[in-house]
Symmetry: none
Subunit: 213 residues, 2 copies
DNA sequence: ATTACTAATCATCGAGTAG
DNA sequence: TCTACTCGATGATTAGTAA
């Protein structure tokens, strides 16, 4: 964790950075040997990539390493920044129409009506989150929210989820997240109304979602 | 570090929270014995306080522990949010006049002239930072800045500090921070001129400081 | 139920050194 | 120089258990 963070501080999130095991060891207060060992561990866990072609090795944080750091960052955001609401900005994207399928299930609909006080429009507004806001999304993933139980219907299983009340441009809505997601950048927004029409938003528009925790 | 973070997540920053060694162990993925040991270590380092009066121990993060967490948080802020300039907004507050005393010392004045290119007005403008901007302040605390050496004069010691060039409403100035700052929410701004008069600001006015890293 | 001691086990570290 | 191996020492962790 500490090693990964240090690589990130060196700029390893953007590109490969030269980082000898001696340098790393000094920075972390451990020996060259231990630093080398730590690099190997990170490699083994696929948290970083390495280019050992030239004299000095160059390292770069891999996708899995970025996730790890974001989760850690999200913890600190929770510690220091958390109020009762959080604002996440995302860009409207056209989903795969999957959302509508799930929204049509009675097993979900009934729970939404009971727990949120409205029966959602059969379709979701997908917001693609990027950059710094991804860490805020991590906070959501870590929060409990309002639980939506999984159920069985039509011979298949529908997984559990959690929802958070929210507003989007003043309109009441909710965000829904699968109960166990760790790597997503999509927020699914449900509402009583067809949000796209109601708010006049089209794909690519950035909108700020104000979420209640 | 991990243990301390977990206590913070449980609300240990604000007040004592009940946290048995078994609970902590499970949360951290270690045994009850190790969790107990970690609590003892944190206590020994004065990072937390403990109340062992009742059955379950209750722990609370001490001042030193808060600092530790803030430093760690600042690292993650640097990783995910950092640019080359940072804008921090604070409200003008009347200091205790202490700043003026320090600014009068030749040991500091000479360094300012040499390293900043101006000799500051004998007095500081204090900005009280709150809310989300506090996290930006933590970035500053973690950055190196321009070092100001400590010295001895008049039979006492004047500690080291670090400064950052900045502008306030277009006027060149600098922020000064003690080299090992404790938990602070005050930014001390120095400038060639008497900023209050120059900018016509009075106590309570919010001003945005644009700081160079 | 707790917390935390002791003793055994296991992982981590660094010195020396090879490639 | 560099990385990274072996291996003995030093830490950390845990099971058992006392208070």
């Amino acid at each position: 964790m500490d090693t990964l963070k240090h690589i990130a501080l060196r700029g390893g999130l953007k590109d490969f950075v030269a980082l000898s095991s001696r340098e790393l060891g000094q920075a972390l207060g451990v020996s060259q040997q231990s630093a080398s060992q730590r690099i190997l561990e990170l490699l083994n866990d696929a948290l970083i990539q390495r280019d050992l072609a030239s004299r000095k090795q160059r390292v770069k944080i891999a996708a899995k390493g970025l996730e790890t750091l974001q989760r850690e960052y999200a913890d600190y955001l929770r510690v220091f920044e958390l109020r009762d609401r959080i604002s996440i900005t995302g860009r409207t994207t056209s989903g795969l129409g999957e959302g509508a399928f799930y929204m049509r299930q009675r097993g979900y609909k009934d729970q939404f009506r009971k727990k949120l006080g409205f029966e959602p429009y059969e379709g979701t507004l997908n917001l693609k989150v990027s950059g710094a806001d991804l860490s805020k999304l991590m906070i959501l993933i870590g929060e409990k929210g309002i639980p939506i139980d999984g159920f069985e219907a039509a011979g298949r299983t529908f997984g559990g989820a959690k929802v958070f009340r929210a507003t989007l441009k003043g309109v009441d809505c909710a965000v829904i997240l699968p109960i166990r997601t760790h790597h997503t950048d999509i927020l699914e927004v449900i509402s009583k109304e067809f949000l796209r029409n109601r708010l006049g938003i089209t794909d690519g528009d950035p909108v700020a979602l104000d979420i209640e925790l």
